[in-house]
Every structure is written in C-alpha cells, then in structure tokens.
C-alpha cells in the first residue's frame, strides 16, 4: 500500500466511522447476483428509452440489479467528438433513461465516464451525454487522467494479467455497461467487451499484444458488468468505430440487454449481420468460459414493439 492509498483508505475509513452507512457501500464491492427467467432480452422498433423501459421490465425492473443506497457506474461509449445521429457514441436518451431507472430503484449516486479517443471535454459535450447525465441527476466524471486509474491484476487472463482501471469501476456496487453497436476497423465489431477498453488507461498495450486476446482477457477481471445494454438504434455499418458521415449509419432501432457480455455480443453480431465466430474475441471469450456465444442455448425474450 503506497502513501496515496493509505491516505485515501484512511480518510474514507475515518469518514465511514464518523458517518455510518454513508461510506459503508464502499466496502461492499461484490456485485449483486440476479435471478431472472431470461438470459437475454432483445427489443426492436422503438425509441431507445422506450425499448429500455420494456426490456428491463422483462428482467424484473432495475430493482433486480440496483439496491437502495448503492453506488452505480454507467459506462457508455463516449469515444468521439460526434453528434448522436452519427452513431459514434451511445445514444444519450438511453443513457439518461438508465440513470433515471437507477435512481428510481434507490441508487445513491450514479456516475458516468469514458476514457475517450477524441478530446474528452468535446466528446462529452457533442455526444449529448454530459447534458443527459446532468439532467438525470447523475455525475459525469473525467476518464482522461491517469490519477483516477489504479493497478489491478486479472486472474485467468492469458496476456493481459495487469491493468490500470478507473477507480469508479472498482468502487461501484453496480456496473452497467452501455455500449453502442458499431463496425470496427481493428476488431470487425465493437459491442460490450470492446466497450470496456474505455475503463482502462493503456489501450496501446492491448493493441501491441494481441488485441483480441486482451479484450477477452479483460472480461475475466472480477469487476464484471452487472448488466450490458447494447444500443443498436443508430448502427454504424461501415467506417467504424469513428465513422465518416451519416451515410455510415443504418437506423436499426434495436437494443439487447443481458448480464452475459459474450451472449450480448454474439446477439449483436447477428443483428449486425456477422456470424459471432468471425469476431475473434467473442470466440476466445467463449472458450475461456467468460460467457456463452451459442444463442440457441439461451432463454431469449424477443420483443418487437
């Protein structure tokens, strides 16, 4: 434990003695296990926020995932300085509605951040997500500073055994991963697992050391998303992940919700028009036992609104 951690822990411990309950949740790190009839919910033909309303209802509502006074992290994709219609970032309407559901379920705080590719302040603004988070009462946090990232080890990983992860991932009780489905020049497709590249500091390492393996490896990290909500409303079919123009976008008006990242990504690949096996990291993650890519083995609820 270095001095910084010591100070931090000391201060927080002190505070939690002084104000019992308030900081107690800091120590309750394990995510809640949920039980539902469905492994995956797929919704179509609605607005992003409406599809989420209907979808989460099938999983017993947000109450199944978020308990009273819990600290929630919502992690959308805010990688690029582009407007929502360009499909580069998660739809702000969806992010806003998810945060509202969290508060309705009793969440104490809801944080949102991404380690962006373009300038973070511009990306947060252009994506409409900063506004959406503030409107919903959540807190938008910078992912642009190494100070916020802490060293972790990943057991079960083949290549990526160590990483620096944003402290909000480590400290949140509930972690909601909200990727947007996009084509991707490096990995063919970006969905849930790939979206987690936005919670670590050194992405270059992944690129240098077998990208697909690293994506699957990070999935093995103990702080897994409690829930994955795949935004497939505006879908970037080509030139991803940044896109060049509105021509890249297909209006698919879809959404996939699952607590299994591999299943969510496999279903998203199908929706996109790709066989899950053509996306290496999905295949690797499945073989590592991270989740199930075989959709026929899942109990799926399909909703067409």
């Amino acid at each position: 434990m270095d001095r910084r951690d010591f100070l931090k822990t000391g201060l927080l411990a002190g505070a939690s003695f002084a104000v019992p309950g308030i900081y107690g949740s800091y120590f309750a790190k394990s995510s809640k296990v949920f039980v539902s009839n469905y492994d995956l919910v797929a919704i179509k033909n609605g607005e992003p926020e409406v599809m989420f309303d209907k979808g989460i209802e099938q999983l017993g509502g947000m109450k199944s995932f978020v308990k009273k006074n819990q600290k929630v992290l919502v992690k959308p994709n805010i990688g690029w300085d582009v407007i929502p219609e360009r499909g580069g970032n998660t739809n702000p309407k969806l992010v806003k509605r998810i945060i509202e559901h969290c508060f309705d379920a009793g969440a104490k705080e809801v944080y949102v951040f991404d380690h962006t590719c373009d300038d973070w302040r511009r990306s947060y603004a252009s994506s409409g997500i900063e506004r959406a988070v503030k409107d919903a009462g959540g807190k938008i946090v910078s992912g642009d500073t190494e100070n916020y990232y802490q060293d972790v080890t990943i057991t079960g990983a083949k290549v990526l055994t160590k990483e620096k992860v944003h402290e909000l991932v480590l400290e949140s009780d509930v972690f909601i991963n909200v990727p947007i489905l996009k084509s991707h020049s490096s990995t063919r497709l970006t969905v849930s697992m790939k979206n987690l590249m936005g919670v670590v500091w050194d992405r270059g390492y992944w690129h240098r050391n077998n990208l697909h393996q690293c994506i699957a490896d990070y999935g093995m990290f103990k702080k897994k998303p409690t829930l994955n909500v795949v935004d497939a409303y505006y879908v970037m079919k080509q030139n991803g992940p940044r896109g060049v123009s509105l021509n890249d976008i297909a209006l698919m008006k879809s959404q996939i919700i699952s607590s299994d990242m591999v299943s969510a990504d496999a279903a998203a690949a199908k929706l996109f028009g790709l066989e899950p096996d053509t996306v290496s990291y999905i295949k690797i993650a499945d073989s590592m036992g991270l989740g199930k890519k075989d959709l026929s083995s899942l109990n799926i609820k399909r909703l067409i609104l």
Partner: protein, 528 residues
C-alpha cells in the same frame, strides 16, 4: 487632475488589461470563448499590426487606436495595456519591497539611441524578408505570452491538480486533474533565459527593457514626442532637487536640465505626487509651452552604457551552435532498418504554408494554451532556427481534433488565419506515411488498426492481409494530416505511421465513396 489620482487610474487600467490577458494565456479550462479573447487582445500592438496586414479588417485595427491614444497622451500602451510592461512594474515593485533598507531609487540614464533604432529596424527588416524571428524575440506581448504559458500555466495546473486530488479523496469529481502532456525543455529553457533578461533589468532599472530593447516602446516613444499631453517641468517651480528623477522607473527625467525625455516616459505618473513644489505636471504641452514656462530639450546621446546589452544579445547567437547539434528528425523505423526523416514540421490548419506561418507568428503561444488536445506545442528547431518557439503540430503528444479550429479563432496575429470549419476539415496540413515494417500486423501477425480507428476521413483504411488479418493503407487524397493515426499508433519505440508536413497546405478530396445504408425494416424478426 492630481498626480496621485492619475497614478491610481493607471494602476486600475493596468489591472483591467493584465488580469484577463493573463488568464486567457493560461486558461486550461477553455472558459474564454474566441470572440472574447479577440476583444481582450484587441489593443495588443504587434499582433494587431500583423493581423491588419493580413486580413485588413476593423477587428484588427487595435494598433490604430493605440497610435491615436499615443498622439493624445503618450505611451499609455506601455504604461497599462502592454502585459510585459505591467509585469516589469510588478517585478520592480517587489524588488522595492525586498530592498527595504533604502527606498528604491532610480537615476536619470542617457538614452541608448542607436541601440533603440537598431532594435526597431531589425524586426522590420526581418519581417520584410519574410521572417517574424526578430519580432518573435522582441515583441513584448508575445514575450509575456510565453512567460505566462511556460511559468504561470504550470502553476495553475499544479494548484488545480492539488485541489482535484483532495476532492478525489472525497469522491468529488467536479474538479478534475489537468495533465500537461508535454514538456518541451529547449523552448522552456529559452523562455527562462528571456525571462531572466527582462526580469533582471526590471528588478534593477525599472523599465529599461521598454526604453532600450522594445521596438514597440521605441516606436511609440518617438511618436509620443508629438503627443498633445505630456509630462512637463515648470522651470520656475522646479528646484532641480532630483526627487522626481529618483521616482522615475523609466529613468527619463533629467532634473538638472529640467527636461523629460518623452520618448522614454511610460506615463506611470509616479513623479507628479513626489514633487514638493508641484513643479512637474501632466498637461497640454502645446498650450503650456507657448506660455514659456516649460522647455523641451533634446538629450545628448551617450553610447557608453550600451555594453551590457550587446553582451546580453550574444546569447541569441549562441543558439546557432545548439542548432547545429539537433537534427529535425524522428526515427520511424526499427533500429534495424534505415531511419526515416520527417522533412517538414506540421503547421496548424489556417496557416496556409510553413513559410507564411514562419513569417507571421510571433510565438505568443496563445494557441498552445487554447488547444484542447495540446497537439500544438512550441517548437525548438523543427521549423529551423528562425522559426524557433513557433508552435507546431506535435503528433507524438496528441492530434488535431477534427471538429476544432480554436487556434485559428484565437490567433491574434493572423499567422493562423480564421478558417471555416468545413474548409478546415479538408485542409491537408500533411500526409500520413505508413512504415509497414514497424506495423504490428506485419511484425506480430495480430490485428491492430488503431490508426484507422482514429482516422476521421478514413484516409487510413484497413485492407486484406495474410489470412483474416487486415493491414492499414493510406490514401493521400483523403488525408488531412491531423495526426490521429500517428498518435494512436501503439508501436514502440518508433511509430509505424507518421505525418509528413506539407510545406504548402493543400485541399484534400472529400471521401464520397461511402454508400448510403439501405433502409431496414425494423418490424422484421430477429436474426437469432
């Protein structure tokens, strides 16, 4: 109007200018929008002249206002508007506080006329030959810009980050740490030397820089000989006691001869309240001189004290020696293969060409502070010796945001011209060069594509390679040289893709090969 009131007004006006100007030059939060920044810097003399020459518009006519003010009152610009002048006042004031045992005093100094004219003609001559090098070294606003950017901005960052650290302990993220992504040691060191040069003169001799070195000071000084209002000594009331001369931080009052050298007076008004007989005043010179109580005498030039200044300027030349040692190159291949040179640095969009940019930029570094991605960094010798300190696109540190043109909006000299955003998105400042033998896809046979991911125009696209692998391909026509690919390229230590600067910026082709997506029937069944 009493002298002490004039003095108070002077200090008030100084604060009115230096506080916003300084904040603008160190603004890490990007709070001040470009249109406000242009207003704050409207009266800065050299930037305004340069911009006027380039864009010929009312928005750049600030220097005309300064000339008119000078014709009326004298060197108000030097007194209050020029941030370097006010900075020297502050330094001298501090020196006075520290040297407490005896009150700070000045003495009348003779004018270094030849040196003043040489340093006035030099920047003009350089400029006419297409280089803003001498202006860059001497312009007081730009010097102050560099001092702020190099010294005050890191201080603000430090204070901000300290605050952010404590807030983070409490899990409050509203104040976030700001990281300075690059430290350019040579430009920093040069700025330290300049600062030492100005600060030592200010510490010991008040406004010596303004009255001996500064070309703006010389120009406005000689113009203020014609000004309507002047500092005047009444021959009958003046006892030649010399108290005013000891107060004069411009060292321009010769009390024995009862004259004020108006070419050097910076209108601080410190002399007026000091006079025991009210023998020195600020008034309408034409009227008062006609009355015959006042005289204006030319002061003889004495060259004896020029020595230390000439010595001080020798260090400019010593940089030539350093210049010979540093080559403008970045190695982009592995050590085992032939190194590749970046022939040209990359100049920001709106600067039209490297030569034009080198001829206009005074290196005030306002764009460096304003750039949200910090891709603009002070150069050392990337543009060559004469382009020293002028900002360049540093794609190792960061890359140019596709949707941003703030540098063009804030540039006070017109070195970076205002540019329409749509035009900026097609302005090719350089071209990406792919070095296949450094690329991860080639060397490790795994997927990467970070360059293509970041490319805003898809000039860098991925094409089929061995097996299912994809490898980058650069299409020059679409490339705008933003440097996102170079920045994102993860290879170590040398990049597999880098930007070669265009000496003259070109227009890239719009990527029109993109087919529109078919309309999807969202009521169809799921494919799973």
């Amino acid at each position: 109007m009493s002298g002490s009131l004039l003095r108070k007004i002077r200090i008030f006006v100084s604060m009115l200018f230096i506080v916003p100007t300084t904040f603008l030059l160190i603004d890490i939060y990007g709070i001040i929008p470009p249109d406000i920044s242009n207003k704050i810097l409207f009266l800065q003399f050299i930037p305004s002249v340069l911009k006027y020459i380039t864009v010929f518009s009312v928005t750049a006519s600030g220097f005309i206002a300064v000339l008119l003010i000078t014709l009326l009152f004298g060197r108000v610009y030097c007194s209050s508007i020029c941030p370097l002048g006010v900075m020297q006042d502050v330094i001298n004031w501090i020196s006075g506080k520290i040297k407490r045992k005896k009150k700070r005093t000045f003495d009348f100094l003779r004018e270094q006329k030849i040196l003043r004219f040489v340093l006035l003609v030099l920047p003009i001559a350089f400029f006419l030959f297409g280089s803003s090098f001498a202006l860059n070294l001497l312009d007081p606003y730009s010097l102050y810009g560099r001092f702020s950017g190099n010294f005050l901005r890191p201080l603000l960052v430090g204070a901000n980050n300290l605050a952010a650290y404590f807030f983070e302990l409490l899990r409050i993220y509203a104040v976030y740490p700001y990281s300075l992504k690059e430290f350019n040691h040579w430009p920093f060191l040069i700025t330290v030397l300049f600062f030492a040069f100005v600060a030592v003169m200010a510490w010991k001799k008040g406004r010596l820089y303004c009255n001996t070195v500064c070309p703006v000071g010389t120009l406005l000084g000689y113009l203020s000989k014609l000004s309507l209002f002047k500092i005047l000594i009444n021959h009958e009331d003046c006892l030649s006691c010399g108290i005013c001369a000891k107060e004069c931080k411009a060292s321009c009052i010769d009390s024995e001869n009862k004259t004020v050298d108006m070419t050097r007076c910076v209108l601080c008004f410190d002399c007026i309240p000091s006079c025991p007989t009210e023998g020195i005043t600020f008034g309408n010179s034409f009227r008062e001189i006609r009355k015959g109580n006042y005289a204006q005498t030319e002061i003889q030039v004495d060259n004896s004290k020029r020595d230390f200044l000439t010595k001080a300027s020798v260090y400019f030349l010593s940089f030539s020696a350093i210049a010979a040692q540093v080559k403008k190159k970045i190695v982009v291949t592995k050590p085992s293969t032939i190194p590749v040179f970046r022939k040209n640095a990359v100049s920001p969009p709106g600067s039209v060409s490297i030569d034009r940019f080198n001829g206009r930029c005074t290196a005030c570094h306002l764009c460096v502070s304003s750039c949200p991605t910090q891709v603009l960094q002070p150069s050392f010798l990337e543009y060559g010796f004469l382009g020293m300190l002028q900002p360049r696109m540093d794609n190792i540190t960061s890359f140019c945001n596709f949707e941003c043109k703030i540098c063009a909006d804030v540039c006070p000299t017109g070195a970076i011209l205002p540019i329409d955003l749509e035009k900026k998105k097609l302005t090719q400042i350089g071209k990406a060069k792919f070095v296949k033998d450094n690329c991860i896809v080639q060397t490790q046979k795994t997927d990467c594509g970070a360059c293509s991911e970041h490319c805003p125009t898809k000039a860098v696209r991925m094409i089929a390679f061995e097996g299912a692998l994809l490898i980058p391909e650069v299409r020059d026509d679409y490339c705008i040289g933003c440097g996102a690919c170079e920045y994102a390229c993860p290879t170590i230590p040398y990049k597999a893709i880098y930007i070669e600067g265009n000496r003259s910026h070109q227009i890239a082709k719009k990527n029109t090969e993109l087919k529109k997506q078919e309309v999807i029937n969202t009521e169809e069944d799921f494919p799973f």
